[in-house]
């Protein structure tokens, strides 16, 4: 039973990260469309922000692995 709950926790973490990375990517695309000349800066910022969001999700996933 606890294993199932951990799986639900991992799924919730992934939903959160999905929303977060979606926001980052979507806004970055809008920004690039508005200012194509700044696309290089925006892209590296986008990857950085996506990595931060993902980091939070990975902590949750790791905890759900350890909590058996």
């Amino acid at each position: 039973m606890t294993g199932t709950l951990a799986a639900v926790g991992a799924g919730l973490a992934v939903i959160g990260a999905g929303i977060g990375i979606g926001q980052v990517g979507g806004k970055a695309m809008e920004a690039i469309a508005r200012q194509p000349e700044a696309s290089g800066d925006i892209r590296s910022g986008m990857i950085l922000m996506a990595a931060f969001v993902e980091g939070a999700a990975l902590i949750a996933i790791l905890l759900s692995i350890f909590v058996k």
Binding site: G40, D41, S44, I47, L48, A51, F52, E54, G55, A56, L58, I59, I61, L62, F66, K68
Partner: protein, 465 residues
């Protein structure tokens, strides 16, 4: 001419090995044999799988080993006991974990097993240095022999705990696995069957150092494992390519780069211009460029090396201990280079009221450790997840084929698995580059934040008003 000679040599070696399967384990032929496998691995798969297993054992011995295996597999499955069935239930999760773990033998496609040096130390018996073919590793990387109290199970070394066992070498008939209660927590206990008796094995060292109940091994393992070997290989390969490129620049500085030099230059310039200079600054980036480049190319090389199909698919950057050390290096370098303003921003944030300063000090102090922690988890998680996804798709063949009972099911599984695996591999190729890049860009941003000058101190004051 040399090309056709090469192919003839490969085919001759292959023919030679087919005639005498016991030659497979001899190191002399292994390198030719690897190439030969690429040509004809599917046709000869079954013969060889069995050929490597037999080392003077008869068929009854085989039957025993397999029956001893079965309860273990049934237990490892998600609660499915295969009662009365001839086949144990296929366990995709267990198989995936087995294949992404580090091992003391380098297996290629289940028929070539390259022995690796074992360097073991136990306080009671002292140092033991030998090659891992002393264990005669067979199917599932289980050793068929025990050597000096050590046995190999699922590619890793275990030590026999029972003081009654004293033999120098002995035949291992099988491994069993039980779950015992220890202080209210379920603990995995492994047993090796030698000469009809089940000998208890010492617990395996766990990631947490035994805090969560896994226990700590009473022996120390300094072996050159599959992951260590891959790291050495990738480091040598990178050294070779970079020295070659550097020589090319020296020889013709005015010519445009070509070949491997061109590939490296593109990536090198991208990291320098898009990562190092914007994040660290034009004046100081040269000091940190070697670190950033080493991290980028080492991680990228290992990511890509793990993607090569049929080459053992090592999971080095998916191993938490490897990424932990890289993250630790970054942590140390960031913090010893941190200037006054960096530490001031952590412990006494300028430009905010005192209660907020205290609150921020706690948060910033935690983030000091969370930063390398996420760096470590992100890389390991992404690469391991990719490997597990590929292995799960390949596992479809066995799920549909009911572990070899249903041929048509296996065919359907294969038809599904091939496009899915190819798709996943393409994704993984992108992930290999993106994760190496993310690791580098985050390192650069942490270093940049640590050595930044206080020129924006006024901005804080302005923002406050």
């Amino acid at each position: 001419m040399s090309f056709s000679f090469f192919w003839r040599k490969i085919l001759l070696t292959f023919a030679h090995v087919l005639q005498d399967p016991s030659k497979i384990m001899s190191q002399k032929h292994i390198f030719h044999f690897i190439f030969a496998l690429f040509i004809a691995f599917s046709a000869a798969a079954q013969d060889h799988g069995q050929a490597t297993e037999s080392h003077g054992t008869d068929t009854t011995m085989h039957a025993q080993a397999h029956t001893a295996d079965q309860p273990m597999h049934a237990e490892e499955g998600a609660g499915h006991e295969a009662e009365g069935h001839g086949h144990a239930e296929y366990d995709p999760a267990g198989t995936a974990i087995h294949h992404i773990s580090d091992a003391n033998v380098y297996s290629i496609l289940d028929f070539v097993r390259i022995p690796l040096p074992m360097i073991l130390y136990a306080p009671e018996t002292g140092w033991d240095v030998f090659l891992s073919n002393k264990f005669h590793p067979g199917h599932h990387e289980d050793g068929h022999m025990a050597y000096k109290k050590y046995v190999m199970h699922h590619g890793s070394v275990f030590r026999i705990a029972d003081p009654a066992y004293t033999a120098e070498e002995a035949e291992v008939e099988g491994f069993t696995h039980k779950v015992e209660e220890k202080e209210g927590k379920p603990v995995d206990v492994y047993f090796a069957t030698i000469g009809g008796t089940e000998y208890r094995l010492h617990p395996r060292t766990t990631l947490d150092g035994g805090v969560l109940g896994g226990g700590i091994t009473p022996f120390f393992d300094y072996s050159i494992t599959k992951n260590v070997l891959s790291m050495i290989l990738v480091a040598l390969l990178l050294g070779f390519f970079f020295i070659k490129a550097a020589k090319a620049y020296k020889a013709n500085p005015d010519k445009s780069p070509k070949g491997v030099q061109n590939v490296l230059e593109t990536m090198f310039l991208y990291i320098r211009d898009e990562v190092a200079i914007p994040f660290i600054g034009k004046e100081k980036y040269m000091k940190y460029l070697p670190l950033l480049m080493s991290i980028f190319f080492f991680v990228l090389g290992l990511n890509l090396f793990g993607q090569v199909p049929f080459l053992g698919s090592v999971n080095v950057t998916g191993n938490l201990s490897v990424t932990m050390i890289i993250a630790l290096v970054v942590f140390v370098i960031v913090n010893i280079n941190g200037n006054k303003h960096y530490w001031q921003h952590i412990f006494w944030m300028p430009g905010v009221p005192v209660p907020v300063k205290i609150l921020l000090a706690g948060v910033e102090f935690m983030s000091l450790f969370i930063k390398p922690l996420t760096l470590m988890l992100r890389l390991a998680g992404n690469i391991s997840a990719g490997h597990i996804a590929i292995l799960s798709f390949i596992g479809l063949i066995f799920i549909f084929g009911k572990s070899g009972e249903s041929m048509s099911g296996g065919a359907i599984g294969t038809a599904m698995a091939i496009p899915l695996t190819l798709f996943m591999m393409a994704i993984e190729l992108i992930v290999a580059f993106v994760q190496a890049f993310v690791f580098t860009i985050l390192t650069a941003s942490y270093i940049g934040a640590a050595i930044e000058d206080a020129h924006h101190g006024d901005d804080h004051a302005h923002a406050h008003h």
